[in-house]
C-alpha cells in the first residue's frame, strides 16, 4: 500500500479554505509542544501568539498597521504572479516610494497646502513604478530574468537611502544623526482615521483590494494577465503583447510598493536607517499565500500581521525570545506552503503497485 498523488482538474475550493486553517491549527499544536519543551508556558505562548491579537480590541490597530503595507504591496505583486512575472524587488520599490515622498517633503518643508500630500503619494508611486520599470526594460529588451534583476536593485536602493540620509537630506536640526527632518503637519496623514484606530493604510488596502478585484475579474487586461500566465509563449491576448504585460505588471507592482512606502513614511514621520523593514519581502509571501487573489491577499496580510503582533505580544507577556517568534513564523509559512499541495492534488491510497510513481516521478 502506498500514497499516491493525483492532480485535481480544478483546484479544490474546500481545500483552498481548509488547508490554511488546518496548517494554523497544526502549527499551534506543534507550538505548544515546542514552547513547553523550551521551558515556557506553551498554551499561554500560543494563546498570545494567535489569539490575543485577534481577541484584544486594543491590538487590532497594531494588526491593521502591520497588515496595511503588506496587503498594499502584495496586491500589486499578485497581478504579476498571475502572469508568472516575479517581482522580488518590491522592498526596493517600497524604499524608492519613501525616498520620493521624502524628496517632496524636503522641498516643501516650509510650505503648506492641500496638494503636498497628494504630490508625495504621486511622486512615491511614480518612483516605485520607475524603479520596477528597470527590471522590465532588462527583461523585455535583454531577456534578463526579473527575479534576479529586481532582487539586485533592492540592495542598490538600500545604499541610495543610506547616502541620502547621511548626506544631502540629513536633518539640519537632527544633531547630525543620519535621518531626514520630521514631516510637517502639511506632509502627514493622520495616524488613524476619524479616531477609529484604523490607519489610513488599511483603508487604502481595502479600496485597493476592491480595485484589483475588478481589474482581475472584469477587465480585458486582467484576463490577458491570467491568460499569459497560463500560456506564456503565445504572443498577444486581447490587444496586450506579452512584453506589454511584463511592463504593466512590474510597474503596477512598483507603484503599489511605492504607495506603501509613502504611507509607511507617514507613520514613521521621517526616513532613517531603521526605515527598511522587509515588508517588500514578506509581501511576496503574502501574495502567494493569498493565492494572488485580492480577497486571499487581504486575509493573508492580516494573518501575517497577526503573527508579527502575536510574536511581540508573546515576547512581552510570556517572555518568549524574539528568535522563537521568528522561527515559529517560518514554521507556519512552511506548513501553509506545504498544504498548497492538497489544493491541487488529492491523495489516493492505492494497494496495487503503481506503474506511475506519482505526480512528481
Amino acid at each position: 500500500m502506498r500514497l499516491r498523488l493525483e492532480k485535481r482538474l480544478e483546484p479544490s475550493r474546500a481545500m483552498l479554505v481548509l488547508t490554511p486553517v488546518l496548517s494554523v491549527i497544526a502549527i499551534m499544536l506543534l507550538g505548544i509542544i515546542i514552547f513547553d519543551g523550551l521551558g515556557y508556558d506553551g498554551p499561554q505562548a500560543v494563546w498570545e501568539l494567535f489569539f490575543t491579537p485577534v481577541l484584544d480590541v486594543y491590538k487590532w490597530r497594531d494588526v491593521a498597521s502591520k497588515a496595511a503595507p503588506l496587503i498594499i504591496i502584495a496586491l500589486g505583486l499578485s497581478l504579476g504572479n498571475q502572469a508568472k512575472i516575479w517581482n522580488i524587488g518590491a522592498e526596493g520599490q517600497y524604499i524608492l516610494g519613501a525616498i520620493g515622498a521624502a524628496g517632496v517633503a524636503f522641498v516643501t518643508q516650509s510650505m503648506t497646502g492641500f496638494w503636498i500630500i497628494p504630490l508625495m503619494i504621486l511622486v512615491g508611486m511614480v518612483l516605485g513604478a520607475i524603479y520596477a520599470a528597470v527590471p522590465a526594460v532588462l527583461r523585455t529588451r535583454y531577456g534578463v530574468s526579473e527575479v534576479l534583476s529586481s532582487l539586485m536593485f533592492v540592495y542598490v536602493s538600500l545604499q541610495l537611502l543610506s547616502y541620502l540620509i547621511t548626506g544631502p537630506w540629513k536633518d539640519p536640526d537632527g544633531h547630525n544623526f543620519p535621518q531626514t527632518a520630521q514631516l510637517t503637519d502639511a506632509q502627514l496623514l493622520p495616524h488613524e482615521l476619524w479616531d477609529s484606530g484604523i490607519p489610513p493604510g488599511l483603508l487604502v488596502a481595502l479600496i485597493g483590494a476592491v480595485i484589483f478585484y475588478i481589474i482581475v475579474s472584469r477587465t480585458v487586461f486582467g484576463f490577458s494577465v491570467r491568460a499569459i500566465g497560463e500560456a506564456p509563449h503565445a504572443a498577444r491576448y486581447g490587444g496586450f503583447s506579452s512584453n506589454g504585460i511584463v511592463w504593466a505588471t512590474l510597474m503596477i507592482s512598483g507603484a503599489m510598493a511605492g504607495l506603501a512606502g509613502v504611507l509607511e513614511l507617514m507613520q514613521l514621520t521621517r526616513l532613517n536607517l531603521g526605515y527598511p523593514s522587509g515588508y517588500g519581502f514578506t509581501a511576496i509571501i503574502v501574495s502567494l499565500l493569498g493565492r494572488s487573489h485580492p480577497v486571499g491577499v487581504f486575509i493573508a496580510g492580516i494573518v501575517l500581521a497577526i503573527t508579527y503582533v502575536g510574536g511581540q505580544v508573546a515576547q512581552t507577556f510570556v517572555h518568549v525570545p524574539n528568535a522563537t517568534a521568528g522561527l515559529f513564523q517560518a514554521l507556519l509559512l512552511f506548513a501553509i506552503l506545504a498544504s498548497d499541495l492538497l489544493v491541487r492534488y488529492r491523495i489516493r491510497i492505492s494497494t496495487t503497485s503503481p506503474s506511475t510513481k506519482g505526480a512528481h516521478s
Binding site: K66, H175, N176, T269, S277, Y308, T316, F317, H319
Partner: protein, 359 residues
C-alpha cells in the same frame, strides 16, 4: 525576570507583599512595573547586553519592589510604537527606550500616556513625561586613547567606526586628542564600516588598518571580532561596551564598559517615590556610568599611570580632553586655548580633529 503568566503574577504580588519593602512610598501591594525596549538581542554582548545588565542590577537592587519586562530586537521603525504602547498598557509606569531611533515613537506614545514616564537613551527630545539619558562615553575613549598613545610604536593608530554620528565622532576625537597628549605625533586612521554589527567586515577593516601600519586598533562597532584579529596579528585593541578580554587575552589592553545599573536604579527609585522629573542625564566616569576595565597585565606601568591620571582627572573634574587648543583636520582652530567644548557642542559635533585621517 520571570515568565509573565497570570499564575506567576499572583505569586509575584504575593511575594512582593511579603518582602520588607524599600522606601516608604513603596507600600502598594503590587510591584512597580518597569519596561524596557532593546534594539538588539540581550545576548549581543554589546550595547543591548549592557542595558540588560543594568536592568538586572536595578532589579536586584530594588528586590521585590519592581517587576521588569523587556522586549528585544525592536526595530527602529513604526513598529516600536505598538510595543511601547503595550508596555504602557500593561501597567509599566516607567519605560526605558534604549536606542536613538526610538525618539519620535517614544514622544508619540508618551502623548497618549501622560501618566507613564519614559526615558529615551541618546536622544535629544524631551517632554513632561519624557527624559533623556546618555553617557559621556568619550571620557572612556580619552582613557583608551591615552593608553594607545603610550603603546603604539608606529605612531599610527587604527579606529573602526560605524556611522558618522556625533557619538562616534566625539569618540574618535577624544581618543585621538588623548593619544596626542602623550605622543604628539600620533595619527589616527579612521574607517567607517556603515554598520554597527558585521563581524566579517569588522575583521577585514581591522586587517586593512593593520596592513597600513596601525599597531593599536580601537573600535566603535559592536563585535569582538576586531580584537580577535588583533590577537592573531600580535597587535593591540580595546573592548567595546564590555570587558572582552576572554576573546583576546593578549590583545585586550582594557575596555570601556557601559554601566547603566546606577541610572536605572536611581530613576526607578525616583519614580516610586514620586520625585521623577523630566531631565537630561549625561553621566560619565565620575558618576560611575562609564567604567574602564582592568588593564592587561602586560600594559607598562607608565601607560597605566597615564591612564589612571585621566580617570582621576575626570573623577575630580580637573580634566577634560576637549580642552583647547583644538584644531580640525584642515588645521583651523576650533576651540581656543583654555576653552572647553560644552556638551551641547559635542552633542552635534561633525568634524574631526587634526591628526585623524578619514575618508
Amino acid at each position: 525576570m520571570t515568565k509573565f503568566t497570570r499564575r506567576d503574577f499572583v505569586k509575584a504580588v504575593g511575594a512582593a507583599s511579603a518582602l520588607p519593602l524599600l522606601g516608604a512610598s513603596a507600600q502598594a501591594a503590587e510591584p512597580f512595573k518597569v519596561g524596557f525596549i532593546f534594539l538588539g538581542p540581550v545576548g549581543d554582548y554589546g550595547w543591548t547586553w549592557a542595558h540588560d545588565k543594568g536592568r538586572r542590577e536595578m532589579e536586584a537592587a530594588l528586590g521585590g519592589a519592581v517587576k521588569t519586562t523587556y522586549v528585544e530586537n525592536v526595530k527602529e521603525d513604526a513598529s516600536a510604537i505598538p510595543i511601547l504602547r503595550d508596555l504602557a498598557r500593561q501597567g509599566n509606569k516607567l519605560i526605558f527606550a534604549t536606542s536613538f531611533g526610538y525618539m519620535d515613537q517614544v514622544l508619540e506614545v508618551a502623548k497618549e500616556f501622560p501618566d507613564v514616564k519614559f526615558e529615551h537613551c541618546t536622544g535629544f527630545k524631551r517632554a513632561a513625561n519624557v527624559s533623556t539619558y546618555n553617557s559621556r562615553f568619550h571620557e572612556g575613549r580619552a582613557v583608551t586613547g591615552t593608553i594607545a598613545g603610550k603603546v603604539s610604536k608606529s605612531g599610527v593608530i587604527g579606529y573602526l567606526g560605524s556611522f558618522k554620528i556625533p557619538e562616534v565622532v566625539m569618540g574618535v576625537n577624544a581618543f585621538t586628542l588623548a593619544a596626542q597628549a602623550v605622543n604628539p605625533k600620533i595619527q589616527t586612521k579612521l574607517v567607517m564600516i556603515d554598520s554597527w554589527f558585521d563581524p566579517a567586515k569588522e575583521t577585514a577593516a581591522t586587517e586593512t588598518l593593520a596592513n597600513l601600519g596601525c599597531d593599536v586598533i580601537a573600535t566603535h562597532t559592536d563585535s569582538p571580532a576586531p580584537l580577535q584579529f588583533c590577537q592573531k596579528k600580535g597587535i593591540f585593541g580595546f573592548g567595546q561596551g564590555a570587558d572582552m578580554s576572554k576573546f583576546a587575552p593578549k590583545a585586550h589592553l582594557t575596555a570601556i564598559e557601559d554601566i547603566w545599573g546606577p541610572h536605572y536604579t536611581a530613576r526607578v527609585k525616583a519614580a516610586i517615590a514620586g520625585t521623577w522629573k523630566s531631565e537630561d542625564f549625561w553621566d560619565g566616569i565620575k558618576e560611575g556610568a562609564v567604567k574602564v576595565s582592568a588593564y592587561n597585565a602586560s600594559l607598562a606601568k607608565d601607560a597605566q599611570d597615564a591612564a589612571n591620571k585621566v580617570i582621576e582627572g575626570y573623577k575630580a573634574g580637573s580634566y577634560d580632553v576637549f580642552t583647547g587648543p583644538i584644531y580640525d583636520q584642515s588645521g583651523a582652530l576650533k576651540v581656543k586655548e583654555g576653552q572647553k567644548m560644552g556638551l551641547g557642542d559635542l552633542a552635534t559635533i561633525d568634524w574631526y580633529v587634526k591628526g585623524i585621517q578619514s575618508a
